[in-house]
């Protein structure tokens, strides 16, 4: 998930929960049913969970633009050569691929 995606996800989560709470409360009050309020709210929390928690493609529309290693060297950033890994592969090579 990129930076814009994180912002979008958090905003979506808050707006969806607030709106569903208002809808659930009004519906429960009108129907005089506390149970219906809880059912509506629980369902919307489920929907919000499915919408904002998994890393959906639409949260990755603005991927980070990493500098090329060569260009980075021009800007004075020291680029480390990846050390040859021993056979032990328990450690993941890079964390940058995710997020």
């Amino acid at each position: 998930m990129d930076w814009q995606g994180q912002k979008l996800s958090e905003m979506l989560m808050q707006i969806m929960l607030l709106v569903s709470a208002v809808v659930a409360f009004v519906a429960g009050y009108v129907m005089s049913s506390f149970k219906n309020m809880l059912i509506i709210y629980a369902a919307s929390v489920g929907i919000t969970l499915l919408t904002t928690v998994p890393d959906w493609p639409f949260f990755n529309r603005n991927p980070l633009q990493w500098l090329d290693p060569k260009e980075a060297e021009i800007h004075g950033v020291r680029v480390q050569k990846p050390k040859p890994q021993p056979q032990n592969t328990s450690k993941k090579p890079s964390k940058a691929s995710k997020k």
Partner: protein, 167 residues
């Protein structure tokens, strides 16, 4: 760190906070309801009236209890507990309360009723003060909400008197 678990945790925390606010609002919404409960109690018969071997007076009554407590129920009411108590003054105690009958009303549909019953719990005095005793029958109700505070109220029906002689 902005991971799956972080987002799930944020959603859960915010969701539960909102749920708590909804419960508070549901509790506050009960203030919009102004209950006007009705209750009547009659003593139909004194079945027997005696002195127990240990010296305490005991009386058995047949009661006719009718009530309309529907206005106590709102969308936030779990149940209503009601009991009928005989209340009187004796030399020893300024207020004696003896519970004679009780019931739990689970829903608004059951809140309008009448019942013809002998006292469910025995009406026994601490001593022998019941002959010719004036007493009140009071209906108490305790409203138990789904969320929020419990409250209680009562209706006093006065002007009852026990006979002068055991029977």
């Amino acid at each position: 760190m902005h991971s799956f678990a972080y987002r799930a945790n944020a959603l859960f925390t915010f969701g539960v906070t909102i749920l708590a606010i909804m419960c508070v609002m549901a509790s506050l919404s009960d203030n919009l309801n102004t209950p006007s409960p009705q209750a009547e109690i009659e003593v139909l018969n004194i079945n027997w009236f005696q002195r127990q071997p240990n010296g305490n007076d005991e009386v058995s009554l047949t009661l006719n209890i009718s009530a309309d407590l529907q206005s106590l129920f709102t969308w936030n009411t779990k149940q209503v507990f009601i009991f009928v108590a005989a209340e009187y003054e004796s030399e020893k105690n300024a207020l004696n309360q003896v519970s004679l009958w009780d019931a739990i009303i689970p829903s608004k549909e059951h809140a309008m009723f009448w019942i013809h019953t002998a006292n469910k719990y025995s009406f026994v005095d601490q001593g022998s003060n019941l002959r010719g005793q004036e007493f009140n029958l009071t209906m108490h109700w305790h409203v138990m909400p789904k969320t929020g505070y419990m409250y209680a109220d009562k209706k006093v029906i006065s002007g009852f008197r026990l006979p002068e002689e055991y029977k």
